[in-house]
Structures are given as structure tokens and as C-alpha cells.
């Protein structure tokens, strides 16, 4: 395949850009400093298109498409922001807040939470959708870490980092829809998991206060997911 056939030219928000054929709309946009909000996406992990925050309009498509799992195509015309897209994103964000018990004021991640910052950047000041107030468990059986399902947005970053980077496959998802839960092993208490290596990667990639380190619970420590792309590059270099 020639080098040229690997290049796709498209427009994002009217700006003509070139991207590699294997890139997603999200990658191409970010390379050109065009902002698309994301929640489940994390540099260094595979894409699942779970949160729908990155929905964009592609001319000719009958529905909005998630930018993180849509490949660029020749001549594509992408719009990342307009009133319709903004309305959808705000609604999705409201659904996240209404689905579980996100109480920013008492959360360990207050001030360092991706869900909280999304509400700020998208200008969401209140939730029109009635709150569900589900009764959800907190598992503090692990000596160092806690999982609080009240704050989980089911982005599955923990599941992906555990499988793709650590290789332990401790985390998984059970149930369907809003009833889904991230679980350790076959829903064993985290502290009793035989596969967990206690590496803490899941905690670092969690966008909210759902996973946190016990000894840092009160100090509002910023999470550090930046190690992922570095790890990826180093490992791919070895192969």
C-alpha cells in the first residue's frame, strides 16, 4: 500500500485536516487541538464507546456517531459542536448524575473528578431528570483500596486497564443497563480476590471517586493516569 492511500482528508468544524486511515475522528480532532468531550476514553486504553459524551455529527449519517470508535473517511464532514450535539451531551451527563448517588461535596474526588468537570465545561447547572437514588454497596475489604458503586459511571476503564495493561483480569462487569456493577473476580470481595495484584492502576484511571486509595481519602489527591501511553510505547518497543 502506498503512503498516500493511508491518508484521509476530511473537515472537522470546517477545518480541513489530514489523518491516517486508521485514526478515529477523536484522534484526528485532538491532534488538531479540536476539543471533543470524553469520559470513558483514556489515552493508552482500547476504546469502548460506552459513555457517548464524544457524539459528533457526520454529514450524511442518520444519527450522531461516537468519535472515539468512528474511523476517519475520505471527504467526511464532521461537526463537533452545535446546539443539537450540546443538548444530547448535556442530557447524557444528566443521566449519569441521575442514575447513581453523585454527591460532589462529600466525595474524595471533589475538585479532581472528570464527571464534575464535564458538568462545568458543558455548562450543566442542574439535573432535570429525576434522581434514582439506588441503594448501592461500598466494598472496603481491600487493605488499600475502596470501590464505591454510588460514584461509578460504568466507563470500564478499570476493567480495561486491568486486562490490557496489568494482565490480571480481576475487574469485570456484571448485570445489564443501569443495574450493571463493576466486580472483582466472580463478585468476590476485592480484599479476597486471588487475581488482584494490588497494583492500583484501576484506581489511577478511574475518572470519579468510585475507586480510591484509603490513605488518601481525605486529601483530594489528583489521580495519575498519564503513565498509560508511556507504558504502551515501551512495551510495543520491546516486541
Amino acid at each position: 500500500m502506498s503512503a498516500e492511500s493511508n491518508v484521509r482528508t476530511l473537515t472537522i468544524d470546517g477545518e480541513e485536516i489530514s489523518a491516517r486511515a486508521d485514526q478515529t475522528i477523536l484522534e484526528a480532532a485532538r491532534e488538531h487541538k479540536l476539543a471533543i468531550p470524553t469520559l470513558c476514553h483514556l489515552d493508552g486504553l482500547s476504546e469502548v464507546g460506552a459513555c457517548r459524551m464524544c457524539l459528533v455529527e457526520v454529514k450524511g449519517a442518520r444519527r450522531l456517531l461516537p468519535a472515539c470508535v468512528t474511523r476517519v473517511e475520505e471527504g467526511m464532514e464532521v461537526t463537533t459542536h452545535n446546539p443539537k450535539i450540546d443538548r444530547y451531551r448535556t442530557m447524557i451527563l444528566e443521566l449519569f448524575f441521575a442514575e447513581r448517588n453523585h454527591i460532589c461535596s462529600i466525595c474524595v474526588a471533589n475538585g479532581n473528578c472528570e464527571l464534575q468537570s464535564l458538568a462545568l465545561t458543558l455548562g450543566m447547572t442542574h439535573v432535570e431528570i429525576p434522581y434514582q437514588y439506588p441503594q448501592l454497596p461500598v466494598d472496603a475489604s481491600h487493605p488499600r483500596f475502596t470501590v464505591d458503586h454510588n460514584r461509578c459511571v460504568l466507563c470500564t476503564r478499570c476493567v480495561r486497564v486491568c486486562s490490557e495493561i496489568e494482565g490480571a483480569n480481576t475487574w469485570g462487569v456484571m448485570g445489564r443497563g443501569a443495574q450493571s456493577l463493576v466486580i472483582t473476580d466472580l463478585k468476590e470481595p476485592w480484599g479476597e480476590s486471588e487475581t488482584c495484584t494490588s497494583c492500583g492502576k484501576c484506581v489511577q484511571v478511574c475518572p470519579t471517586g468510585a475507586l480510591f486509595e484509603k490513605d488518601r481519602a481525605g486529601s483530594k489527591v489528583r489521580k495519575q493516569p498519564d503513565f498509560l501511553p508511556y507504558l504502551r510505547i515501551m512495551r510495543e518497543g520491546e516486541q
Partner: protein, 176 residues
């Protein structure tokens, strides 16, 4: 918008932190007090909500039958209703009992680990089964997130209202 002359503040189910933040405006309160008349508030003596108030700041969620009665009357007699802080906006800590209902909370506070257990029934309003944000009960005009909203944010809201704008806090103030 008509000229704003009267201001009220109310304290429903919240911790009074929003009112503390209001006082935290410091010397700016003097500037504002020459433009607003504070006609009803936990900070002044008046016991009944006036017939007509231009702007009312509401702190706290709607948690009791009294809150419900108050907020309906306030809405009816207020020009611009401002939901102030996370309890008014989201239910926040006040709404944490919604996962179990009011009964376990009453038992915990008034019966367990208490020398003379008794659930109070006289002189206190009954709790609602579900704590609700203000906008689920009455229409709200301005939403001010924060636990509490900063003094700067409150000052911004009041200044904009005085200048004849209805402020939006999207992208300015966050929950928590």
C-alpha cells in the same frame, strides 16, 4: 426586568453554609445593601414572607412539609427565584436519606444510642418521604451550583440581577 429593590433569603434543608458564603462577601455587602433591601431572611427579624419580593435566594432542599409550604408561598410571591447551592440544586447531603427513606434516619437519631428515646411529633414538621431539589417542586429562574457557592459567585449573581440580567452559571461554578 423591573427594578430590583427587595431581596429575601430562605433556609430550607441545608447546613447554612450558603448563608455563611453570602456573609463572606465582606465589604461588598455594604455596597449591595445600598441597592437592595433585605426584607426576609434568617438574618433579619421578620417572621412572615412579604407579599412581593423581587429576588429570593433559596438555600437547602425541600425535605419537610413545612419546606414544601414555604417554597410554594415563596414562589408565588417572588419575581426571580434563585436556587442557591447544591442542596437546593441536587438535594446533596440532605437527599442522602432518599436511598433508605426517613424512618431509619429518625430511628438512628432519636431512638438508638439515646437515653430517653422518643420520636418528636409536636412542634416539628413531618419529614417528606423523599427530599427533592427545589426545581422539582417549583419553577426556578437561576441555578447557582456549589457547596457552598463562593462569595464571588454570589456577588456575581446579585450584581447581574441588579444590572437587569438573569445570570447563567454554566461554565462558571461547579457542584461540590
Amino acid at each position: 426586568m423591573t427594578d430590583i429593590r427587595t431581596l429575601a433569603t430562605v433556609w430550607l434543608d441545608g447546613c447554612s453554609g450558603c448563608h455563611m458564603s453570602l456573609l463572606d462577601m465582606d465589604e461588598r455587602l455594604i455596597e449591595l445593601s445600598s441597592q437592595f433591601q433585605l426584607v426576609y431572611s434568617p438574618l433579619v427579624d421578620r417572621k412572615t414572607f412579604p407579599e412581593r419580593v423581587d429576588v429570593t435566594l433559596v438555600e437547602g432542599a425541600v425535605a419537610s412539609v413545612e419546606d414544601l409550604k414555604k417554597i410554594r408561598r415563596i414562589r408565588e410571591h417572588t419575581g426571580v427565584l434563585v436556587s442557591l447551592g447544591d442542596c437546593a440544586l441536587t438535594g446533596n447531603v440532605s437527599a442522602m436519606r432518599n436511598t433508605c427513606g426517613p424512618q431509619p434516619v429518625m430511628l438512628r437519631v432519636y431512638e438508638q444510642n439515646v437515653l430517653q428515646p422518643q420520636i418528636p411529633t409536636e412542634g416539628v414538621p413531618a419529614l417528606l418521604n423523599r427530599v427533592r431539589p427545589v426545581h422539582e417542586v417549583v419553577p426556578v429562574d437561576v441555578y447557582v451550583p456549589g457547596c457552598p457557592p463562593s462569595a464571588d459567585t454570589i456577588y456575581r449573581v446579585l450584581s447581574e440581577l441588579l444590572a437587569g440580567h438573569v445570570p447563567t452559571l454554566g461554565g462558571v461554578a461547579h457542584f461540590g
